[in-house]
Amino acid sequence: MPESKGRMGYFCSLVPTEIIIAAGFKPVWVKGKAEMTATADARLYPNMCPYIKSLFADAVEDGEAEFDGLVFTRSCDGARRLYDAWKAYIPSKFHYMLEAPKNADDLAVTYYASQLRDFADRIGKASGSEITGPDLKKAIKEANKARGKMRDLYSRQKVSPLLVAGSELFSLGLELLHGDGDDAADSTSALQKKAAGSDVSAKGRKKIRIMICGNVMSRPDIFQMIEDTGAEVPVADLCTGLRSFERIVDEKGSDPFMSLAQAYLGAPRCSRTAAPAETYNRISDNVMRYAVNGVILTALKFCDQQLYDIPYLLKRLNEDGTPVLFVENDYVFTDRDRIKTRIEAFVEMLAS
């Protein structure tokens, strides 16, 4: 595998970081700005999801110097337009729009594999060295191993009280996604050691346990708000939570691109690809698996993918008697006090 060529940013968890690694770049999930500014409103549109606006604002205000290239995806309407605006207003060394299908059947997998080949070809050219089969296989192994460690930690979150606080585990996952590689790998191993030998059965549940479900989140605010009430968060079904680490790519497949396409389009899927019924089924499985008492559904404001699902999920969870709270957020939690009050009331209701 070639020497590191720098940092390659990506926005959506459908991007196979293995290809970026095989090209010699460090994959970095781009967080965007920590505070909201109005920068994106004029060039994009005020009613775009705040994650997209924060990415754009960050790049306009601080430049793209941090990255050696960026990978976009056809994740949603907003992401398509983000790509357009980025090309028009932000000079960059390498831009690539990865054609991630919106379906996940065999036709979509075959098509995605063809697009991944194209991506590998293009990013290989950008890095100055062609991606070879062994490079890609090695990267697949490496990424599987890193995700495996996180999965292992999540699987140990069935005990109560938790050995690893939900906020801590979530932050560790973010570090991994954000490419803070070595430190995160050390922390994962340390946490794995800490968690090793714990009783993984759900018996002895002592605290109120809450699962967080939604899309993208880059800070642990909600986790901390829950933990401040004395409750715990064993699992976070988020793009930046458990979902990102649940993929296992077949290391022995004869065509690594097909293996990647299968793993990335396969379950667990986010609300972009999954039908609401599929999302509901996964949530209710996790409710059982992690023995949670209640679910907090979150959505970024203006995220159609998520907002359309919410009434359906609320209805189904209410029907099966799972306590649920819906919390919309603006990515940077400007209205943290209001959210905190609602979470406190929810936990109080669960406790009673």
């Binding site: 009613n47 056809r74 907003g78 357009d84 090309k87 972009r272 039908a275 019924a277 359309y308």
Partner: protein, 403 residues
């Protein structure tokens, strides 16, 4: 309630057509008839999207296609207050007002059981994310399958094959649901019929280049958007040819056209009643073209029906990167001798709205007056006649200053 509206609408239009046979009236009669057919118990009903699904495929079967978005969203043209009441139903169960009114209204109508039953639900991944989302949500209610035709962002050998294979699979699904056998020759024939209609539409689009053009333009834009529901049916060509004849006649007779300014309309035209037409009439503004009404699709190869339908989908200006949309807009500007461009902005229509600044930059470069007209397709609460009037009057003032 919807069924009652469409029954009354159809009979009213039939009377009007007898007195004054006009192509635009015939088109609306066809729309009402198609919707009413979906309420028949003996029909297999396939929910779909008239303007983004290749309708020739459905014309090759004996099924009743039903567009839940259009069917629900003609309601505000009859009664915008009732439409708001229905949207409220969806909002009460959690549909955010940040979601497009087109879908809040459709979901509300469905909750009130105004829609016909669905046997299969087909949609496409463009124009917006909300379309296939709503399709999936409604399919769950009917216990039926929802299929979203996934249209990639770019045209390539792989993307054409991918879409064509999805269409083949959809054919299999329709066979399964309806018990009808697919006939490839019938599909070829539908494409042949559609090609003839598209040629006729091309004549109409060419006539719109004539100045002054005798129509304000909205019926012509509707022709293309609603017209696609008839793709693959003989009547589509006839309606377009009638419209061509009417236009020619008006032009030949030198009927006084109020045209002082020619504008291009981007994105959608609101379905709820607005002051737009009234202001345009008063000031002699003609919408000569809409970006989706441009003849961008070309002829389809009947010998490769699935690939041709795939290409039709992939060529839509709203598919792909902004360059595809900008290319179309620039071509219209070059061909239609325009004085200005109006971009109608329904705030929840993110893919369209987020391109406003980019399009505005290009218009600035070309020195073409450009107006972003905010409002809402169907939701009266998000529309202000005063603001619309103020924005349009200012814009017309700018165009006047350049004459």
């Amino acid at each position: 309630m919807l069924k009652k509206y469409y029954t009354e609408m159809k009979s009213g239009l039939e009377t009007a057509y007898q007195q004054k046979p006009r192509a635009s009236i015939q088109m609306t009669i066809q729309l009402a008839s198609i919707f009413l057919e979906a309420y028949r118990a003996d029909k297999n009903v396939i929910w779909t999207s008239f303007y983004s699904f290749p309708m020739e495929l459905l014309a090759a079967f004996d099924v009743a296609p039903f567009d839940f978005e259009i069917a629900a969203n003609l309601l505000p043209t009859f009664n915008a207050d009732v439409a708001v009441e229905i949207m409220n139903k969806a909002e009460e169960v959690g549909y955010s007002t940040d979601i497009c009114s087109y879908h809040r209204l459709a979901v509300g109508c469905d909750m009130l059981d105004y829609m016909p039953r669905a046997d299969l639900l087909l949609s496409s991944s463009y124009f917006c994310d909300g379309k296939s989302k709503t399709n999936k949500i409604l399919a769950d209610r009917y216990g039926r399958e929802a299929i979203s035709l996934d249209i990639p962002n770019k045209i390539s050998r792989e993307s054409v094959d991918y879409v064509a294979d999805q269409l083949r699979r959809i054919v299999g699904k329709i066979e399964e649901v309806t018990g009808q056998k697919f006939n490839l020759e019938r599909l070829r024939e539908c494409i042949h019929v559609s090609n003839r209609a598209r040629r006729a539409y091309g004549q109409l689009a060419d006539l719109q280049k004539v100045s002054p053009y005798p129509y304000i333009g909205v019926p012509v834009i509707n022709m293309s958007i609603f017209g696609n529901m008839l793709a693959g049916r003989e009547i589509q060509e006839q309606i377009y040819l009638d419209m061509v004849e009417e236009s020619r006649k008006k032009i030949m007779e030198g009927k006084p056209a109020p045209e002082k300014y020619r504008v291009l309309w981007l994105a959608w035209f609101p379905v709820q009643p607005t002051v737009i037409n009234q202001i345009f009439r008063k000031n002699g503004v003609t919408i000569v073209m809409g970006e989706l009404a441009r003849n961008y699709w070309g002829q389809m190869d009947e010998s490769l029906p699935f690939e041709s339908l795939a290409l039709w989908s992939l060529r839509n200006p709203y598919v792909g990167a902004i360059e595809q949309r900008l290319k179309g807009i620039n071509e219209i500007i070059d061909e239609y001798n325009l004085d200005g461009v109006v971009h109608f902005s329904t705030d929840a229509c993110r893919h369209s709205c987020a391109a406003q600044k980019l399009i505005g930059d290009v218009m600035k470069e070309r020195d073409i007056p450009y107006l972003v007209l905010d409002g809402d397709m169907s939701d009266k609460r998000k529309y202000s006649p005063e603001r619309t009037e103020m924005l349009l009057e200012n814009f017309i003032g700018i165009m006047a200053g350049r004459k």
